[in-house]
């Protein structure tokens, strides 16, 4: 519902409390949403599926979810409509916010060595395993034998440490944390899977008011642009809605926040997912 109060539309956005979503928090603080007559409330959600459910059930007007989750929703006939870019890979291995890590003394030296190993991802049949398979394939390995297990990001470093898995996929702040504690990166799956990968997007439902969606998109895009230009303010913002330790915040690699959605990368992800059997078709997500 878009209740108007004081001329402004009340909007509730479901957003995961991670580094990726810093722009919306920063943009809210900077008044970009007020400028577009949007009275924004940011509700933290636990993951992409919860965000999508929330939008479909009208609890949120907008939300943030990764490409694969959105593709899956679309394929199952859920009425989701992308309104703006969310977060993108930096495209530079070694400088990205997502990596596959191994122990310092691990025999695994490159992405190709991951073949046949046990690798943790936060969710199976999602963007993690899809991009890792692509990276391994590009590095000349055979991804079909990789044994993926589900482990939430926070629990993955411990599992790597006590040898429960051979490699872990994590995103910031866990990448920096683990690297500083002696882990070693063997693959930068977002950067290496496909060029300039669009990882996640803001979306709404097809039934949403077009004018409001437009204004929200504008506000988001301004926020993305501002965040891209002011990394220091982004790091400050992180202290407000996450509990990441300040010394870690100073170290983490920030993602890219372009205003443009890289449509080719979305299609590429969809193709890969289809090849891996995660999706049955290639739904069109972004017109």
């Amino acid at each position: 519902s878009t209740d108007t109060s004081g001329g402004k539309d009340k909007v509730n956005a479901g957003v995961i409390a991670i580094v990726d979503t810093a722009p919306i928090h920063l943009g809210k603080a900077k008044g970009f949403f007020d400028k577009h007559d949007i009275d924004l409330t940011i509700t933290p959600v636990q993951g992409g599926a919860a965000a999508i459910s929330g939008v479909v059930s009208n609890q949120f007007q907008f939300a943030f979810a990764n490409v694969t989750s959105l593709l899956a929703a679309k394929e199952q006939g859920l009425d989701v409509k992308v309104v703006a870019n969310g977060v993108s890979s930096t495209g530079t291995p070694g400088e990205d916010f997502s990596a596959v890590l191994v122990k310092a003394d691990s025999p695994i030296q490159s992405a190709a060595d991951l073949a046949g190993k046990k690798v943790s991802v936060n969710q199976l049949k999602n963007i993690g395993d899809t991009t890792i398979r692509a990276t391994v394939r590009k590095a000349g390995g055979d991804p079909s034998g990789i044994q993926f297990v589900e482990l939430p990001f926070p629990d993955a470093p411990a599992a790597l440490q006590n040898g429960s898995v051979d490699a872990i996929w994590v995103v910031e702040p866990f990448v920096s944390q683990a690297l500083s504690q002696g882990a070693r990166a063997v693959a930068w799956n977002f950067a290496e899977a496909t060029p300039n990968l669009t990882v996640a997007m803001y979306f709404t439902t097809g039934k949403a008011d077009a004018d409001l969606s437009g204004r929200f998109a504008k506000a988001i895009n301004e926020s993305l642009a501002y965040a891209a230009e002011h990394p220091d303010e982004v790091r400050e913002t992180l202290k407000t809605y996450t509990k990441i330790a300040p010394d870690v915040i100073a170290k983490i690699k920030l993602p890219k926040w372009p205003a443009e959605i890289n449509k080719e990368s979305v299609t590429a992800i969809a193709e890969m997912a289809k090849n891996d059997g995660v999706l049955k078709s290639v739904p069109s997500l972004v017109e």
Binding site: G47, G48, Q76, S120, L124, V149, D155, A159, S164
Partner: protein
């Protein structure tokens, strides 16, 4: 007559479900769920997902029973031990299993041992609490009789607390199934609970509901077995 009696309420509920389910994405009609059920579970999934889950459930449940009853008897018999142990137990009891899992993973790794440990960590409470209370509630005259004749603990304590222990075991059965699902939300790549979660995240809602229905059926089936056992164990109690 008994069959009619047992089926009336379930049929009524399915009817209600049918009526309210019209057109909702998250609540598909019973027909669609039934179709999804046949498609999803009459396949090799039974071998790869359902049976391993049930095996872990059996292991966890048995372990919880042994620990719960053993510890419960000890705690129930000694008020000193109870005073010391209760706060610690209550502490762990109040910690939600999902946040306890990472801790368990630190000690038990991420394989079957962890999942069984998660099941135990939830199942043990109703058994433990009921055993403690059952042991505390032993008839005084009976307890005195035992003291006099030096009759071993087993006879008095376990049997006379058995109605309450059975209540705990009954509770634990369904909690075990729930924890089987929760344990498979972590560090999994197969299992009944894992499959349900996967369906949920993939927005395959009819399939997800068919998994929930399967959980219910498993619970119901196990409770039938349980009742048969209980009928024997508590025959003296129900004066049958």
């Amino acid at each position: 007559m008994r069959v009619v009696n047992a089926l009336a309420v379930p049929l009524l509920l399915v009817g209600v479900w049918w009526l309210v389910s019209g057109g909702s994405f998250y609540l598909p009609s019973p027909g669609r769920v039934a179709a999804a059920f046949a498609e999803t579970w009459f396949s090799e999934r039974v071998l790869t997902d359902v049976l391993p889950s049930l095996a872990r459930l059996a292991a966890g449940y048995t372990l919880a029973g042994v620990i719960g009853v053993g510890l419960g008897v000890a705690i129930g018999l000694s008020s000193g031990l109870r005073a010391a142990a209760e706060p610690v137990l209550e502490f762990f009891r109040a910690v939600p299993p999902p946040v306890l899992v990472p801790l368990i993973m630190l000690f038990a790794g991420i394989d079957n041992a962890m999942k069984v440990a998660v099941i135990v960590s939830g199942c043990v409470w109703p058994i433990l609490l009921n055993t403690v209370e059952g042991v505390r509630a032993i008839d005084e005259v009976l307890a005195d009789t035992c003291k006099l004749y030096g009759v071993r603990l087993r006879h008095l304590v376990l049997r006379s607390a058995s109605p309450q222990i059975m209540a705990g075991l009954r509770q634990a059965l369904s909690i075990g199934i729930i924890l089987m699902v929760i344990s498979e939300m972590f560090a999994s790549s197969s299992g009944l609970g894992f499959t349900i979660v996967l369906f949920q995240r993939g927005f395959q809602i009819a399939e997800m509901w068919s998994g929930i229905v399967l959980l219910g059926l498993i619970g119901w089936g196990l409770s039938l077995v349980f009742r048969m056992v209980e009928k024997r164990v508590l025959a003296w109690y129900h004066r049958a």
